[in-house]
Symmetry: C2
Subunit: 305 residues, 2 copies
Amino acid sequence: MTGHNIVPQSFATLETAPTQYIEGRRSRFAYRRLGPSIGTPLILLQHFSGNIDAWDPAVVNALAADRPVIAFDNAGVGRSTGQTPDNVAAMARDAVDFINLLGFPEVDLLGFSLGGRVAQQIAAEHGGLVRKLILVGTSPKGGEEHLLAVLREAFAQSDAPDPRLPLFFTQSSASQSAGRAFLERIKLRKEDRDTENGSAVTDPQAKALITWCATPDHEQAVLRAIHQPTLVVSGSHDTMLPAINAYAMFKGLSNAQLVLYPDSGHGALFQHHETFVSHVRTFLDAKPAADESRTPADNARRIYS
Amino acid sequence: MTGHNIVPQSFATLETAPTQYIEGRRSRFAYRRLGPSIGTPLILLQHFSGNIDAWDPAVVNALAADRPVIAFDNAGVGRSTGQTPDNVAAMARDAVDFINLLGFPEVDLLGFSLGGRVAQQIAAEHGGLVRKLILVGTSPKGGEEHLLAVLREAFAQSDAPDPRLPLFFTQSSASQSAGRAFLERIKLRKEDRDTENGSAVTDPQAKALITWCATPDHEQAVLRAIHQPTLVVSGSHDTMLPAINAYAMFKGLSNAQLVLYPDSGHGALFQHHETFVSHVRTFLDAKPAADESRTPADNARRIYS
């Protein structure tokens, strides 16, 4: 339950790991690498306007307790150089460049919101690169169109101390309390913090989001091209992306597990971070289904061995 | 992941535990008690026509690794005496009698299918008795009406070696293979097996099911009376209870988490038993949300302590 408690002290945390850089053709990528050196790496794909320090240390450090975890800025974002593209396909291309630069033959992806669209695109186009896929607070292509209005409204709430309080959390006192705790956690790193993103990042990202949401995909070509085991996660009251989007993705994917959390918004993974980490671990550690070539008795023995 | 591997050998299993009996006013109840003696007991509420030996040892034994788990026959079922009632409310009353006879002031409930309806009724009527609620492959009152047709069809498939193969598992080879492994596991107990149920049990149970499904509850009075944390679980392709029922329960409950599994039918909990057990544990072990009276800094400290 409390995975972060078992992070060996010798491992760097999101707050203490040095930011590293790796040079590609189109971008020099900033990233932080956590956890053990062995195992399938989990690559984190960030939300609209977010940088490396917008990830919740409670989630990232706990996940890094037993697998390599890599948070990075995609091209143009935070302290990565290059141009922020205005479409999801180019963001997916840049993220694949980054993964290839690090030399990983196979990775797991955790994509949150905009990062979830990028993760879908990568899994659909680069099946061999992706072992398992985690999609949080996101939507299928062409699936949701009122998100931008909510975003605009939230950013206009100038009395909110941080737009993430109304956007990522519900109005319940429990959720708002969890939201304030989240905002404290992401401030824990004091030195070598990532660069905040301006309009050179958010303008093309917004265009990419609008296009993704508005481009119909009646055939569900993206979802149907994804064959990896996929964990779909959403909050119960995500005002930007109602939970029915997550249900639709679950139905459209051939091998998906769906998890929805109570009294939570877009930031459900940060609000319910202990449960979320446990679910991600269970999902990533699960072995493939029992081998059909075994007899039932074999399988029964295997289960009790 | 593999909780059953850590079951101490000293604990009895579903296959080896002696069947015990306890005498109530309306019934002498047959039950088996597993796991440690300390902790909130998890009471299992069984599906239509099922007895104690219809539970999957892989699920029950793994859950009993770190909490008391009690499987029992409700009044009239299996080796319990008394009359099987023809309505869910009376089944709930009998189950509460049983829990009271064992002297538990508070329990967790895991209700599967018909047992899930009984669990909802108990949680709605006896809020103080139930700490947490797990509802698997079930539906809200008035929520589903085509179940009986599917049941009838499945039992008519005389070429199926067991009606649970077509009813609890999908037609994919992976799911059927998991189904055969499940059927092997539930046969592992050789001595002191529970009694199979005849029409004196299944007729009134069928009437109870029909009535529950056909009685409208437009106000969702049952769901709205449930305030316990609830885990709702379903398979992706439950032919008796399409997964949208689980989604509707999640939406109607005030504090529910939803988990849906891929390529699975009514018996999703048996097919995905390792993942299911992990999810149940995570849910039952989760502490309540962070105390709002703490400051965010307190919460951050708490999270890293």
